[in-house]
Symmetry: C2
Subunit: 208 residues, 2 copies
DNA sequence: CGGCAGTTTGATGTTACTCAATTTAAGTGG
DNA sequence: CCACTTAAATTGAGTAACATCAAACTGCCG
């Protein structure tokens, strides 16, 4: 067996490309090395729910650690590089290394928390609140990976992605974007999100 | 230290009573021994999202295993009995017993899957589909714990609980219940859910 | 019998969806 | 550099789904 923790694959995926399919059995634990991706659940009638946007360093398929079939499908949003660790190696370390166990269990708990908060937002929040919440969650994650000047965050999502993430139509997302821009809260265009009034964004979107 | 896996507390909670609060640090890993309870996230303006209904045998607070603060609040729906295991004991077994690790990690994965599916339902499904989905998920879980005759399932939820679980108002839940009853799909009254047309219920509520 | 919590029903209001047209932005090939 | 094409975003008008408000009804318990 190869050394645990070793990257066994490293490959590019072009923007829009499929990286994993729900219910398939994974070969590796996949990690996003560069670019953006997203997890989603596809319904047979064409609707889909985007569950999480993934940034460099994120694990694409946490369930793969335990050799279970994929819980979600994953697609590349931009051009990405993906690294793959052998599941065997990771599970080996999970069994023997208590620091690794702690890392993985914390990761799992964060996943549960995020999914539950998303459910609360989708169940209870209005269109405006949902969109504000999405922005608010992305801001610190983008900031952790990019140099941010003048509150301008790289933002490669199309309005269709936002719509699928918050359970609205792209048309309605466009209207809300217009509203938020007009009211001087955030302004999204040309792949950049500019946060103008952070306190207001928090008031709208924070989970309290 | 007490023997791991030992029940250290065992206590009743009356219907409607609080069992755990989000963000508090848990003392024990709590297990529901009898009755119904539910996990939810409470918002400061009074709205709340019910995330899961809990039946006997369910762990009320899975995150407690790792000593993290509660991810959700928990309330008793009916009168319940709750058992508490010391977190220390469970974590001890988690570290040393690989079967225990596997059980817990599977449990965690199921939690992530359920929360993600809930998010998909809340984000994408119509009122009717959401309610059908809720019923559909409950049916096998109720059946595993009760003798079912003539497709009649014990169902202690008030319409307010259903509303908070699917993100609708109680008034609208009442209308949809009326519709489903009239169309001969399911009929809910007096604490009993009667499934009349299971295939139709699946067609409406299954996640495909 | 009266009171209370929960459900049902009706009327009306609001939010978000649908459909369709227009504008904008970003290529692409001449 | 400029028509031409195409994908994405915006805007408007009409509609459907769900919320709100309020009243009536039900079953239950004292």
């Amino acid at each position: 067996m190869e050394a645990p923790g070793q990257i066994t694959r490293f490959f590019p995926v072009r923007a829009g490309g499929q990286i994993a399919n729900r219910n398939q059995i994974p070969n590796d634990v996949l990690v996003l090395c560069s670019g953006w991706a997203y997890r989603y659940i596809q319904l047979s009638d064409g609707r889909r729910q985007i569950l999480q946007f993934l940034l460099p360093g994120d694990i694409l398929s946490p369930e793969a650690i335990f050799g279970k079939s994929h819980l979600f499908s994953v697609k590349a949003l931009t051009e990405v590089m993906v690294g793959g660790f052998s599941t065997g190696g990771v599970r080996e370390r999970y069994a023997t290394d208590s620091a690794m166990r702690s890392t993985i269990s914390n990761y799992g708990i964060a996943e549960i928390r995020d999914a539950a908060e998303l459910a609360a937002v989708l169940g209870q929040y209005s269109a405006e609140e949902r969109i504000a919440h999405l922005m608010l969650r992305l801001v610190p994650r983008i900031a952790a990976r990019n140099v941010i000047r003048e509150h301008r965050y790289p933002f490669p999502l199309r309005q269709q992605h936002v719509a699928d993430a918050v359970g609205l139509t792209p048309v309605h997302v466009s209207r809300i974007f217009g509203l938020l821009r007009e009211r001087g809260v955030v302004s999204i265009s040309e792949g950049v999100m500019r946060v103008i009034d952070m306190p207001e964004l928090e008031r709208l979107g924070a989970l309290r």
